[in-house]
């Protein structure tokens, strides 16, 4: 029994749990598994491209939001004022410092960063982990992009060539793989874990220094340590005398693992029990005539009888189709898996996609989701459906957070706001 049960351990769920526990609630978090932080670049994207101008990166996202809302009044950001959003982001920045994975923004406050992507494109992001900041393309130092021979998730020449085409100065270089690992088999996370060891990274700094030309900054794949990341970064900058930045690449996302594990243990210390591997499969609700219903408990699957999870309030943050909050089938039905909340997804498969995989309009199936009121309660018409149910994050409908590059911004802003609403 707790005051609040958060379902989902993604960024929105964790921000909500943090906000609620700070407001004095007792909070439990359950999740089927871990979420999208592990897949993304772990930057905080607030608004990278607005649907009205999909080709040009948004320069100042918060200033762009009013226009976005004007064009799309049901957009989740429309539930919030700009001040709310800014405050939530500030809360995240403060929290990131407290948990030991500090985030920062562009040199000119309010601007989007432009960070080199692993394909060499310039990706707009509002906040980024400290280790990515020196990659900001608005800085003028030429870049030395260094890869490791044979690494399958990082191609410095591709990055440099595309950056050059886009007008940024960059060149590529390689180091032997053994400077990064002596494992035969590895993923990015394992490489990063290896870098935690002093012996493993001992030769890296000197080798980088040899490659470096004066005035350059150094871009590396995001494998610079997990626990010792801050130390690794500082060491390399000291040894090379140059700014060093990471370029996160294919999942599993190393910066994502850092952020998740840090948030998780910080919350645990605040008394938030976070249990993954628990899939909520059923909700028990009462709905007296005419008034909003209420959730009595939810049940999760166990090795035997379902486990009742009791709480006063419930917050749903299970993500959308990718997060696992929605499922879909051949006949075009898309449904929310726990409460069967109404969704704005087109219920005909013919209306789900664009012809091109890369389409600035986005695929309609992915912008559908749950509709909530200003208090972040799922609604049918005006009324909240359940008096004690709130929802936040990427399951909210009316926008395609991947197309907009607003995934984390919406997760944080709505997660915080929903928790504030339910705590007040």
């Amino acid at each position: 029994m707790s005051d609040l049960l958060v379902i989902g351990a993604g960024l929105s769920g964790l921000m909500a749990a943090y906000t609620a526990v700070k407001a004095g609630l007792s909070v439990n978090v359950v999740a089927k598994g871990l979420g999208s932080m592990h897949w993304s670049a772990a930057t905080i994207d607030v608004l990278g491209y607005s649907p009205a101008q999909p080709e040009t990166a948004v320069k100042r996202p918060l200033e762009q939001i009013p226009a976005l809302i004007k064009a799309n009044p049901q957009h989740p950001y429309a539930l919030l004022t700009n001040e709310h959003i800014a405050q939530a982001l500030a809360a995240f920045v403060a929290l990131s410092k407290d948990v030991g994975v500090p985030y920062g923004g562009a040199a000119n406050p309010g601007d989007n960063l432009l960070l080199p992507s692993p394909a060499g494109a310039a990706r707009p992001a509002y906040l980024a982990p400290k280790g990515q900041l020196a990659g900001d393309l608005s800085r003028s130092e030429p870049m030395l992009i260094v890869g490791f021979e044979g690494l399958r998730d990082f191609f410095p020449e591709l990055i440099a060539e595309n950056l050059n085409k886009l007008g940024y100065s960059a060149r590529a270089a390689f180091l032997p793989l053994k400077l990064a690992t002596n494992r035969r088999d590895f993923t990015n996370v394992q490489l990063a874990q290896g870098m935690d060891s002093k012996e493993q990274r001992a030769l890296l700094g000197p080798a980088l220094k040899k490659l470096l030309r004066p005035g350059e900054r150094i871009g590396l794949p995001a494998i610079l340590g997990i626990k010792a990341h801050a130390t690794v970064l500082a060491e390399l900058e000291r040894e090379t005398g140059a700014p060093v930045f990471e370029i996160p690449t294919l999942p599993p996302s190393v910066p994502g693992v850092r952020l998740y594990t840090a948030l998780r243990s910080y919350l645990q210390n605040l008394g938030v029990n976070l249990t993954a591997g628990m899939e909520v499969i059923h909700a028990s609700a009462v709905a007296p005539n005419g008034t909003p219903g209420s959730i009595q408990w939810v049940e999760s699957a166990t090795s035997s009888r379902p486990l009742k999870l009791l709480a006063d309030k419930f917050l749903l943050a299970t993500g959308g189709i990718l997060g696992g909050g929605f499922n879909s089938e051949m006949n075009g039905r898309v449904w929310e898996t726990i409460f069967d909340l109404p969704l704005t997804v087109p219920q005909n498969r013919a209306d789900w996609f664009q012809v091109r995989f890369i389409s600035p309009e986005g695929h309609p199936v992915f912008s559908g989701g749950v509709t909530v009121n200003k208090a972040f309660q799922p609604t049918a018409g005006e009324q909240p459906i359940y008096g004690n149910l709130w929802a936040a994050g990427n399951l909210l409908g009316h926008c395609d957070t991947i197309q907009e590059r607003s995934m984390e911004g919406i997760a944080i802003a709505t997660g915080v706001a929903a928790a504030q609403a339910l705590s007040s």
Partner: protein, 422 residues
């Protein structure tokens, strides 16, 4: 063979979206190159295996310890550890079972044999000569924390002997003690009986046999099926009478509930009845507490207690019930470990080629315990093999939470590991 079983576990491989979250958290692939990780050996390799194949194409799956960290973190619900267990069973079916695994899989037989003359058995098992021989001949790591046979008689002996003083009540519960309590750690059973009785329950201990988990984890599915069927035969009447079957071994209860039916594809009504009647003891106590039935007349315990929830809870998917109860005890400063696994993973760490891996995996936990400072006198963990590994890795005694709880009720002496008032 177990061929039908691809039906229930196998299809979950279809859920995999290749994100490698599981690989990022697998404690074994983090410390060794020999294990390519959950996604690789699980949903990915499974597409390259077939029923009745001429040979198993891969063997590294044998390095999976079965800790189920992967299942817990997987966002899509792939039953990775189970897929691995089955692949291992297939290797065993093709290549036969090494003597060592045969032995480690037969916990109960070993227990019985040793209990005839426990002191001698302890000596012959634990002296350094025989450990070296055991390693050479059978590949049982010489340093690994093998248990000691109880020299004060088995749990069964004690329970029989004390029948006359046992509580009689309308409220009854069936106790499933498992092999470890029976032969190595009867005191855990005594603590459990004391806690049940303190809460007004009469304890029934019907005949029962090994749950078969060690066989399952060594890939001997055929033998395990026999074990599980026997248990069903013996326990079914109690389940049908509506009694709860409660166990102190998290692995035995898991096997009764889900592991055996799922891996062996035993899906009859009777099997299901046992699944639904079985409880982990703290799960059961937490349920009582939720209903306001648990006595909370605890005495103050004044201790810093590092607690490690065993991997099997991950498979139970019931959270951490022992933690939820222990925090009710005044004076306990419970330090919950976030370590993924102690390394031992049942019989995994006993094997010569895996001993060091197990210790490296366990380092996360051992370091956590060390970080809790000088005040720590003992650790707690629900699973017997994990406790042995914890003791081995930290040099501190380790207790089952039920011992702690019994002590908090004033019924049990944590140092002597015995009941206070017999």
């Amino acid at each position: 063979m177990f061929t039908e079983s691809w039906h229930s576990v196998g299809p979950t491989l279809d859920e995999c979206i290749k994100c490698n979250i599981c690989t990022s958290y697998c404690p074994v692939s983090a410390v060794t190159d020999l294990f390519p990780g959950p996604k690789y050996v699980g949903p990915q390799a499974q597409r390259f295996r077939e029923n009745g194949q001429p040979q198993s194409p891969d063997h590294s799956v044998d390095y999976c310890s079965g800790c189920r960290v992967c299942n817990e973190v997987c966002p899509t619900g792939v039953k990775i550890a189970e897929i691995n267990a089955r692949a291992r069973a297939q290797i065993v079916a093709e290549e036969g079972i090494p003597l060592r695994n045969r032995l480690l899989g037969r916990n109960e037989t070993l227990g019985k044999v040793g209990s005839v003359a426990p002191a001698l058995a302890n000596f012959s098992l634990h002296n350094s000569f025989s450990r070296v021989m055991a390693e050479k001949v059978m590949g049982i790591a010489r340093e690994a924390p093998l248990p000691h046979w109880s020299t004060t008689g088995t749990f069964g002996d004690w329970f029989k002997k004390t029948q006359s003083v046992r509580l009689k009540s309308d409220k009854k519960v069936v106790y499933y003690h498992g092999c470890a309590t029976m032969y190595y750690e009867p005191f855990v059973g005594k603590a459990a009986v004391a806690v049940f009785e303190h809460n007004g329950y009469e304890v029934l201990v019907p005949p029962q046999n090994c749950c078969g988990l060690p066989l399952l984890s060594n890939g001997e599915f055929g033998a395990a099926e026999g074990y599980h069927q026997n248990n069903i035969n013996k326990l079914l009447v109690y389940a049908q009478a509506g009694l709860d079957i409660v166990g102190t071994s998290t692995s035995c209860t898991l096997t009764l509930k889900e592991e055996a039916p799922e891996l062996l594809d035993m899906h009859s009504e009777n099997v299901h009845a046992i699944t639904m009647a079985t409880w982990d003891i703290f799960e059961w106590l937490r349920e009582r507490h939720g209903l306001g039935e648990l006595k909370t007349d605890f005495s103050e315990m004044n201790m810093v207690l590092p607690y490690h929830a065993p991997c099997q809870y991950r498979a139970h998917r019931i959270g951490k019930p022992a933690r939820d109860i222990l925090v009710l005890i005044p004076g306990i400063d419970l330090r919950e470990s976030q370590a993924r696994c102690c390394g031992i993973a049942g019989t995994y760490g006993y094997k010569k080629e895996k001993y060091q891996i197990a210790m490296d995996v366990g380092a996360e936990l051992f370091n956590f315990v060390a970080d809790q400072g000088e005040a720590v006198e003992m650790t707690a963990c629900d699973s017997e093999t994990c406790r042995w590994q914890l003791e081995h890795g930290t040099d501190l005694p380790s207790r089952h939470p039920i011992e702690i709880l019994a002590a908090a009720y004033g019924l049990y002496d944590l140092d002597k590991r015995d009941l206070v008032n017999r």
